[in-house]
């Protein structure tokens, strides 16, 4: 007889947040101190909810004096990110430093390569004072077609234009932009190695399982304390640990492109509170009809959604895999 609980909207909520936090910090101590023999942790702090919760967990696990917070802004970063990250560090009494990475990114040709691709789609685009972003259209998640990406440019007067991104330009913009996450991770490891600390990876469960991270960029790290938590649960931890309200109330953004862009419009196509519940139903094998009834959807649309989830999980496996090395089995 199945003992599975009936699907409800609250099924995802952690019942005992205190116990979950205690277990995570105990595991972090065991992994970082005992197993890896590192003396503390560095955390890249962006002013977003995920890195803030990881930072708070690290401060609890290792003590504020054994944690270093690093802000890693570049010229497209929102000024709010640094302000919120500083507030976070002050709240938990942890030292925070700023490493501006614009110069490193210019050295890689990050902006130049990205802007070259943008200009080939929109020749009128002027990177000096226009803004750009790429994203998907929200309506696609219930379709059997995968999403396509759109390029949006905004001129200094606020006029917006968008176009479907051709494959070559899409790949070039993404590859160039990924220098940002990989440069940040290089800097985190620099500081971790100078202090003999570990690097805390900050992806949550959705980022991990749906592949919303840059391989060897923000998808790297030595431990990922919230890697198995839904966003709703990350917010529960944030409230419990006293993460500043400004961070909790901030809309999750990618903070990657010069134009403002939410994570929902870039990737997820659903608000996180809905995404969490649908994904829970999907990964725990609930019938689409049962999930649909609770979520106010049709069974057919939820079936499409689950097919999309399965495709996303399968097609992003490459991102989560370490290099395959068992070619010789002598």
């Amino acid at each position: 007889m199945s003992t599975r609980k009936p699907f409800t909207k609250d099924i995802i909520l952690l019942e005992n947040v205190e116990a979950v936090v205690s277990n995570i910090i105990e595991q972090m101590r065991e992994d970082v101190l005992q197993r890896f023999k590192r003396n503390g942790a560095v955390v890249g702090i962006s002013g977003g909810i995920d890195s803030s919760v990881c930072f708070a967990l690290a401060a609890r696990a290792f003590g504020p004096e054994k944690v270093l917070g690093i802000m890693l802004p570049e010229k497209d970063s929102s000024p709010d990110s640094e302000m919120l990250a500083r507030e976070l560090a002050a709240k938990f009494g942890v030292k925070a430093i700023k490493e501006e990475i614009t110069g490193a990114l210019s050295g890689f040709g990050c902006y130049e390569r990205r802007d070259e691709a943008v200009k080939s789609v929109f020749p009128e685009y002027d990177p000096k004072n226009w803004k750009m972003k790429i994203g998907v259209r929200q309506s696609g998640l219930f379709s059997n077609l995968p999403p396509v990406f759109y390029l949006t440019i905004i001129d200094p007067e606020g006029n917006v234009k968008d176009k479907i991104l051709p494959a070559r330009e899409y790949l070039q913009i993404v590859a160039a932009s990924n220098f940002k996450q990989r440069t940040r991770m290089s800097m985190l490891y620099y500081h971790a190695e100078t202090l003999h600390y570990a690097v805390i990876g900050t992806p949550n469960k959705h980022e991990q399982e749906q592949g919303f991270f840059v391989k060897y960029g923000d998808g790297a790290g030595d431990v990922m304390p919230i890697g198995n938590l839904y966003k709703t649960q990350v917010y529960q931890l944030a409230e419990y640990m006293g993460v500043p309200k400004g961070i909790i109330e901030r809309t999750p953004t990618t903070d990657t492109y010069s134009a403002e862009q939410t994570q929902e419009e870039f990737f997820y196509q659903l608000p996180f509170n809905l995404m969490d519940r649908f994904w829970y139903g999907f990964e725990n094998g609930y019938p689409p009809a049962e999930v649909a009834a609770v979520m106010g959807e049709t069974a057919e649309r939820v079936e499409s959604l689950f097919r999309n989830f399965e495709r996303k999980r399968t097609t992003t496996e490459y991102l989560r895999m370490p290099p395959i090395r068992n070619y010789y089995r002598g």
């Binding site: 259209r137 077609l145 995968p146 999403p147 396509v148 479907i164 051709p166 494959a167 495709r311 097609t315």
Partner: protein, 85 residues
């Protein structure tokens, strides 16, 4: 100029087989190429680019529906319609 349907389908099939690294025998004219997992999001973007370059069509937002792309048959009909416009 009318495009021969058989030629269109053959070009589409060859592209799908080559780009999805799938077994050619598994891709029929009526195979649901997205539902059956031959293509992911990147594959779809590349397919659109291929169709635009190969057949000289322009894909609009309103064209991005399953009925136009779900199979070789559907894509071929989509190309025919766009070519006539």
């Amino acid at each position: 100029m009318a495009i021969d349907t058989a030629t269109t389908k053959e070009k589409i099939r060859n592209y799908i087989v080559q780009s999805s690294h799938a077994d050619a025998d598994k891709i029929k004219d009526e195979s649901m190429i997205f539902r059956e997992g031959f293509f992911d999001s990147m594959g779809f973007i590349m397919l659109i680019t291929f169709l635009e370059e190969e057949f000289g069509i322009k894909t609009a937002d309103s064209d991005l529906i399953e009925e136009n792309f779900e199979s070789i048959n559907a894509i071929s009909e989509f190309i025919q319609r766009k070519s006539q416009n």
